[in-house]
């Protein structure tokens, strides 16, 4: 036996120890630590998002308002680029050499193996020219994408726009959105984002060490297809909208038209408007800044964001409520001596109307009459004035005034309808009465109503006591689903019988010679309306007109506000009458000059300082009232 035989065990021991070390290490790598599986997947898996086509938006006659148009992103994989004629390349694309160098450097810094965008959103025209020469530029390729396109360039504020998501949105979406995704930022694009965006598809591609795709992971078992966004049918009438925007050109204001029998919004004009195509494409950023800095604030969605004291049109609401309360009847007559006297003060009236009944009070817009009935509702209701006011406030609120109508657009404002507590606080005591806020009787003072609320009020009158939630999307998807909330009748708590004399008064406003809007009478159509003039402490008064037509079985309710335009009868009423006729007849019977006078008029206020987007509601109602008195 070899004397060193026992050394065999030492060597065996060393071999076994080494193997055990290897096994322990393997156990750690393969069983305990699971970081490596993650790293392996990161190495090899590339999630490719397949973007669905965004849903298109149609008008009520299924004419296209928004569609998708292909654009082309020029991509580059720097590693595959061979020397080429840079000058020709830049000329084809219409970019400068500096721009190219900058973009190419950016792409190279990102990755030389992976594709980066060199130039975003080439138009079809640029692409066509470039495509023929593409073979000259290895390493470059073009990737299709689609952008929004607005064939008629109308209804910008209604449709809204889309933009890239920001960090906050990504965070809020719980990982649904990723950098570079588009999301609806405003308008319908935003409120119906969930439906329009569709469902993204995912492809789990495997790539090799050089990021070259090598097929689908697990044979595509985990891949999903993209599902296109739902198409939306809006309630808008394209032609009516177009006319509205035409009429409101060079003016600040809104038109809202509603179909009373459904709550569908037929026209939604916010003026000044802008071409929605500006918010798409390579110039988007510049255009956006320009719009944002425009002193007339085209991005401001006036129909739902501008709040005005409604002025005389509010008399309709007061007339209805007073009847419902039993404070007056249609035959109740007050004598107008040129104003309503309360305490030692007077709320002036435009004329001396003499004895005036309810219908006449609407017809002539008699302030005195409403001073009396407001006083009766608040101070002579058999309860304390403050409770009388509370009852009145509740009744007004039912018209959707002072709260959001919950239209299917973001950023709607609720307007202003002060509570009783507001006055108690303001006057330092709850012992106040109608003389403390008498201007509410004629729609002045602490009231703020959006054009949408005005139009909705007209829909209520047209329906004689109820409305449907105003909405812009009448049907969703191929199945034309209608949201249930839009088919629910909402009663405002005024019995039908009380509408007759008010509507008669409104009819006379338009149709009887001498009515304040007789100039806007539509031949053959009985339109019922009411003019209003909204005081504007910053400049010329705002012209307001609300109406519905025809008187029986009304098809359209409308509100028109033209800022700084003076009397309601001068601008707003003719605009409304043209809109109504266009909608009901699809043509305009009046001479072209009638329309041209309006379309050609520019009523934009001179820009002195920052233009106030809305009429601020004055705190001191007494002062406002005295100003009313000065009006002729």
């Amino acid at each position: 036996m070899n004397p060193f035989f026992a050394r065999k065990y030492v060597i065996q021991g060393i071999f076994i120890t080494a193997a055990v070390f290897i096994i322990i290490r393997l156990f750690y790598l393969q069983v305990i630590n699971d970081e490596y599986l993650l790293s392996a997947n990161n190495n090899v898996l590339r999630k490719i998002i397949i973007y669905p086509a965004r849903g298109i938006i149609l008008d009520r006659e299924s004419r296209i308002l928004v569609q998708n148009e292909p654009v082309y992103d020029l991509m580059v994989i720097p590693r595959e680029v061979k020397p080429f004629d840079t000058l020709e390349f830049c000329n084809l694309l219409g970019i400068t050499k500096e721009r190219f160098d900058k973009q190419f450097k950016k792409a190279k810094n990102h990755s030389i193996y992976r594709a980066s965008v060199l130039e975003k959103q080439l138009s079809a025209k640029v692409f066509a020219g470039f495509q023929e020469k593409l073979y000259l530029f290895p390493g470059f390729y073009v990737q299709n994408r689609s952008v929004r396109y607005y064939p008629d360039s109308i209804a910008a504020q209604f449709l809204g726009y889309i933009g890239e998501v920001n960090e906050r949105m990504i965070e809020k979406s719980n990982g649904f959105y990723a950098k570079g995704d588009y999301i609806g930022i405003s308008g319908i694009e935003r409120s119906y984002e969930d439906l329009l965006r569709g469902q993204r598809g995912v492809q789990n591609l495997m790539v090799d060490a050089f990021s070259r795709p090598k097929g689908h992971f697990a044979d595509g078992k985990y891949d999903t297809l993209a599902v296109s966004g739902e198409g939306l049918q809006s309630s808008l009438d394209r032609d009516l909208q177009k006319l509205g925007e035409e009429l409101m050109a060079h003016k600040i204001g809104s038109i809202v038209a509603i179909e009373p029998s459904s709550g569908e919004i037929l026209a939604f004009v916010s003026s000044p408007t802008y071409n929605p195509n500006l918010m798409v494409g390579r110039q988007r950023g510049n255009n956006y800044m320009k719009l944002l800095n425009n002193p007339y604030k085209p991005m401001f969605i006036r129909p739902i964001q501008a709040e005005y004291p409604p002025g005389s049109i509010f008399k309709i609401v007061n007339a209805l409520i007073a009847q419902q309360f039993g404070s007056i009847s249609p035959s109740t007559t007050y004598t107008c001596g040129g104003g309503y006297r309360y305490g030692n003060r007077v709320m002036g009236c435009t004329h001396v109307h003499g004895p005036t009944d309810l219908t006449q009070s609407i017809q002539y817009s008699c302030n005195t009459y409403y001073g009396h009935i407001f006083n009766k509702m608040i101070d002579h209701s058999g309860m304390r004035s403050i409770n009388g006011y509370k009852r009145w406030q509740t009744a007004v609120a039912k018209f959707g005034i002072g709260s959001k109508l919950d239209i299917d657009l973001p950023n709607e404002r609720k307007g202003l309808l002060p509570s009783a507590d507001y006055y108690t606080k303001r006057w330092g005591s709850d012992k106040w009465g109608s003389s403390f806020n008498i201007s509410l009787s004629i729609g002045q003072g602490e009231l703020g109503i959006t054009p949408l609320q005005m139009a909705n009020t007209m829909a209520i009158v047209a329906n004689r006591g109820f409305y449907y939630k105003p909405h812009l999307i009448k049907a969703i998807g191929a199945k034309k689903v209608i949201r249930r909330e839009f088919t629910k009748k909402i009663a405002v708590g005024i019995e039908q019988q009380y509408f007759g004399s008010v509507i008669e008064g409104m009819s006379r406003v338009v149709n009887q010679p001498g009515g304040t809007a007789y100039y806007s009478k539509i031949p053959g159509i009985e339109m019922c309306g009411k003019t209003g003039t909204v005081q504007n402490p910053h400049g010329a008064d705002h012209s307001v007109f609300v109406a519905f037509a025809p008187r029986e079985n009304p098809k359209i309710a409308i509100a028109v506000v033209v800022e700084n335009a003076g009397f309601g009868a001068t601008w707003s009423a003719p605009i409304a009458s043209l809109m109504v006729e266009k909608y009901l007849r699809d043509s305009i019977s009046r001479p072209a000059a009638y329309k041209d006078r309006i379309t050609q008029a520019s009523l934009l206020p001179a820009i002195k300082q920052k233009l106030a987007p809305k009429t601020t509601i004055k705190k001191d109602s007494a002062k406002t009232v005295s100003k009313t008195a000065v009006k002729p």
Partner: protein, 421 residues
């Protein structure tokens, strides 16, 4: 007893080793197939690919093995100086006519194949070492004997270092196990181990701290062993040598090692993280193996190896494919097979009557062990990246033939273990 012609050539050949050899070759071939498998180009069999070539290599290795089993057993001891001489000549020739691949002038082109002389130097060195120790008056106590044995080992090492192929050269150092088995003082192993530990500590700790630590330990030892006078000199000498060693390691590390070697060591020690440069291989290799989890991703399902994340995946990093596609279980099987083979070789070596065969057997075990440990160790980040193949598994004709020669000569010797050489 003289050499009796066996009934068949596999008479008395150790079947266990034979099966282990075949198993490893087949595992190697399967994993090479998986490593170069391209799902987009699945031509069933292609001699132009690595797995096609490896198939030829395996077939020819089997023939080579059979041929060795047919040879006269005396040939190996008698002709060992000749084999050694030829190997050295080839190692010199490669420096002259060799082709430089990846910085190493290690290959002699012969037709479309390339011969790697260092692979063949392994078996011939083992043979000559066995011949020298078994036949001459070798005394492990004699500095001359040990020096000459060391010379036999270091001569090919020196030539290989000129290529320079540090990895292959390092494997020869494993032959210290042979000398140890034959009576070399255990202190050499201890000194070797201490040298490795000190090397790592030198790179990890500051010199001042390490030397103070060393002096402190020496002081305690001196105090503890103050009664035993014979210990005082070795301890003091050892400490001085260690301090000198630390400085030379530091110097060598900073001035002699090439930058990539330095980085590989730094990466291993965790001193630098260089996932895109020198650390890339090891990191990707660990990812591939780690992502295999317990049961692996399955044959041809490995993504890291298939898609080229791991470099050198059919040669030095073939174990990644094993780890990724067959998981911990498969890795365990491969490690187990190697350990089994190593134990079997030691068993075979110990049952030899001739010391030549025994010594050669230990040589085979040592060479295989160092390849096995360093190769798998580097893929899992246990040792620095040293480019040596995994025996029988890695792609490559020279290495497969080299290891086949190594193993089958032992099997031939073993088949004749009852005879006297």
């Amino acid at each position: 007893m003289t050499n009796i012609r066996p009934r068949n050539i596999f008479f008395n050949v150790d079947r266990v080793s034979l099966y282990l050899f075949l198993a490893l070759c087949i595992i190697g071939w399967i994993n090479i197939y998986a490593a170069v498998y391209d799902p987009e180009n699945t031509n069933a069999f292609n001699l132009g690919t690595n797995y096609g070539k490896q198939f030829i290599f395996i077939l020819s290795a089997c023939m080579l093995g059979t041929l060795i089993l047919l040879l006269d057993v005396k040939l190996f001891s008698t002709l060992s100086p000749l084999f050694y001489g030829i190997s050295l000549l080839l190692l010199v020739a490669v420096l002259v006519v060799g082709r430089n691949v990846g910085g190493n002038q290690a290959w002699i082109p012969i037709g479309s194949f390339r011969l790697q002389p260092s692979e063949f130097a392994k078996f011939s060195t083992c043979l000559l070492l066995a011949q020298y120790i078994s036949t001459t008056n070798f005394k492990t106590k004699s500095w001359f004997s040990v020096g000459l044995a060391g010379f036999i080992i270091m001569l090919p090492v020196a030539l290989i270092m000129l290529q320079p192929d540090t990895g292959s050269a390092l494997t020869f150092l494993s032959l210290i196990f042979v000398l140890y088995r034959e009576g070399l003082s255990g202190y050499f192993l201890v000194i070797g181990a201490v040298a490795i530990v000190l090397f790592i500590l030198t790179l990890l700790l500051s010199k001042v701290l390490l030397i103070s630590l060393l002096v402190f330990v020496a002081g305690i030892l001196l105090y503890q062993l103050r009664k035993k006078k014979q210990w005082i000199t070795p301890i003091i000498l050892g400490t001085i040598c260690s301090i000198f060693y630390i400085f030379s390691v530091d110097f060598a590390y900073k001035n002699i090692l090439q930058p990539h070697q330095r980085t590989r060591i730094d990466v291993l020690l965790g001193k630098v993280e260089d996932l895109r440069g020198q650390g890339y291989n090891v990191n990707q290799s660990k990812i591939a193996i780690g992502s295999g989890r317990i049961f692996g991703k399955g044959f041809l399902q490995g993504t890291q190896t298939k898609y080229d994340f791991v470099p050198e995946q059919s040669t030095d990093f073939i174990f990644c494919t094993v780890g990724e596609e067959w998981g911990f279980v498969g890795s365990l099987v491969v490690v187990g097979l190697y350990l089994f083979l190593l134990m079997r070789i030691i068993f075979i070596a110990e049952r030899q009557r001739s010391s030549f065969s025994r010594i050669y057997g230990y040589g085979v075990a040592s060479i295989l062990f160092v390849h096995f440990f360093i190769n798998i160790g580097m893929t899992i980040g246990l040792v620095p990246v040293i480019g040596i193949p995994l025996p029988f598994v890695s792609y490559g004709g020279s290495s497969l033939w080299g290891f086949t020669l190594l193993l089958f000569i032992l099997l031939r010797l073993d088949a004749n273990r009852m005879g006297i050489i």
